[in-house]
Assembly symmetry: C2
Homo-oligomer: 365 residues x 2
């Protein structure tokens, strides 16, 4: 080690490493909410060297205080404690983006979102009602947008649905069509092997009257069809007269069971939900969703009624939880780097949100 | 008309009209090249009140001097003469974007592109080799990019393929997947009722040796597979070892005829073309294209080998010419309004290029 040349060369190597490290510019992520989706996102983040988890938050007694690796069921610890109190962690941690996976209801998660934005962190959230909140929640949307602009950050709600299969995917495909008169999307999910939360959300195992009660209470039903319909209409510049939604049970014709349920004949296998948007009295947007035990021919279908017409079928359908985690992770680079501020939706992101140009020259001009 | 109130109210109405007109901000388009694709784009532009064709250019004796409506086979005149000399028209016409549909070869159309850029107009071109020119034509790409930045305009090559089915569509779909290991796209076209130029490009009616000669001369074969493979690899951050291309004839097993050809048994029904891109010795991109008379089961197939895997089939396949026209027209608003300058590709456009926010507030901040 006394050879000056050797020391110089070691020093140079260190600087090269340092330079490489700085050039990497990892996206620093705080993870908020370690439920089923949250845990899936944690796994996805760990798979990608572009991201670094620098903090974690979960308010539930079952998760708070644990190591994030244990809380998310990774199989090993990560050296990241799950904090109970968001305020102090958000304030004291240097991070670019908070991945937020705590709930579907915008009014419920709104205080969390505001405290993140106040701490000058951008947000990607799996909150379904945040995917396109402007029409249904104008006041909350304006407040979030204004506060995010003040603190110079971005807020995005996304996921597989709403956020992709029943809105962004058809809108992106419609780039190859013109004079589009209507759009139809169908998503048929067999929930047999899916997580129990999703099966319960679909009403599996309930009696018909139990399904109706749970639907009225909002405990059964998919959140997001209205958001998707509104985003599609707005993107095509359509002024919709109305969006009507229906929700009905899929009834078992024979006994059927899986790991979590044994459904008697006449009881509920799941749900069939639809949204219809009219423009000048004509059906312009039609979204059909079925989530049920043993659903026949699971698939996603996109139909663009334009010139040319486009009809695409995704065989088996896009796997929900894995896709939601992928979408969140793929949008992280765009949210971390964008020059926009405020409340965004998927359509304001670049076409390939995960694409990271080697030279950022264009953006910096 | 002597009632001052009435006159005032008429004046106010006029101002409202004027304001509405100004707010419309029509995109002013010069149309360059009135071949089969060009004529399709003209029809698409006329269908959309957002655009205004303010000039037309075609160097061929059959088109120049005619009215654009006649040259494009619209069925009526448009009051727009087709100019022979691009230079003076480009210089003297106030326009935002030139829609350029004159050829597939970038080296051939390069002088046209440079003169458009010099006239401070943005370009959307159907030139296949312009869709992702950086790797194969680095010098031309740099010159176009530099000149476009100097004059503050944008240059984009796009169309159904390359530009959409075999590159942008799978890359956009991959937003819902992660850890993507490979991408496969298959496009099977039955050219029976397609325009004769496409059938000749596919080699329909040739003998096998005629096909080989025409392929060697570049008269037969689809242009763009390599561009698509390179764009995909670059977007995923893959360093490809190599892209290999193959081109072979589809041979008739029995006599088959259509409007333009009677193909004897043993002669050529069309082409089968493929591109394979290797990353670290593994096949990461695989593109298969068949264009032939009576091709079995025409479709587009997209396979994303990631987590989750995605497999989408577009039944019948996206109709080429109509889709190319739609894509060009749908990208016009983004190209007219973008704040970027230089040589772009589809992936630098917004996810929904045809979407025009009612308030441009965000962009202007």
């Amino acid at each position: 080690m006394s050879d000056p040349n050797e020391r110089l060369s070691k020093l140079a190597a260190t600087f090269r490493d340092l330079e490489a490290y700085v050039q990497q510019e990892k996206v620093r992520v705080i993870h908020f909410g370690v439920g089923a989706i949250g845990a899936e996102v944690v796994r996805a983040l760990l798979n990608n060297p572009e991201f670094e988890i620098v903090g974690a938050i979960d308010a539930s007694a079952a998760k708070a205080g644990k190591d994030l690796g244990d809380a998310a069921g990774i199989g090993h610890t990560l050296g990241i404690p799950v904090a109970y109190d968001p305020e102090s962690l958000l304030k004291d941690t240097y991070a670019d983006v908070v991945v937020h996976c705590t709930g579907s209801s915008l009014t419920e998660v709104y205080p969390q979102l505001m405290s993140i934005v106040a701490a000058e962190k951008s947000i990607i959230s799996s909150c379904e009602e945040l995917a396109f909140p402007w029409v249904r929640f104008p006041e909350i949307s304006q407040k979030l947008d204004r506060r995010a602009k003040e603190t110079g950050v971005r807020v995005l709600g996304t996921g597989v649905n709403p956020g992709f299969v029943m809105d962004m995917l058809p809108m992106m495909m419609a780039t190859a069509s013109q004079q589009v008169k209507s759009v139809r999307i169908e998503r048929i999910l067999d929930v047999t092997t899916r997580r129990i939360q999703l099966q319960r959300k679909a009403g599996v195992g309930l009696s018909v009257s139990g399904f109706q009660q749970a639907a009225t209470a909002g405990a059964v039903g998919h959140v997001g069809l209205r958001e998707s319909a509104l985003m599609i209409a707005d993107s095509f510049g359509w002024r919709m007269d109305d969006v009507s939604e229906t929700l009905e049970p899929v009834i078992a014709r024979e006994r059927r069971k899986n790991e979590y349920f044994a459904v008697e004949k006449g009881y509920v296998l799941g749900l069939r939900q639809a949204a219809r948007g009219l423009v000048s009295g004509q059906e312009a947007v039609r979204l059909d969703l079925e989530m049920s035990l043993g659903a026949n021919d699971p698939h996603d279908l996109v139909e663009i009624n334009g010139s040319p017409p486009i009809r695409a079928v995704i065989q088996g359908g896009i796997q929900g939880d894995a896709a939601t985690a992928a979408i969140i992770v793929n949008c992280l680079p765009a949210i971390a780097r964008s020059r926009l501020t405020g409340l965004l939706s998927m359509r304001e992101l670049p076409a390939i949100p995960y694409f990271r140009p080697r030279s950022q020259q264009r953006e910096e001009e």
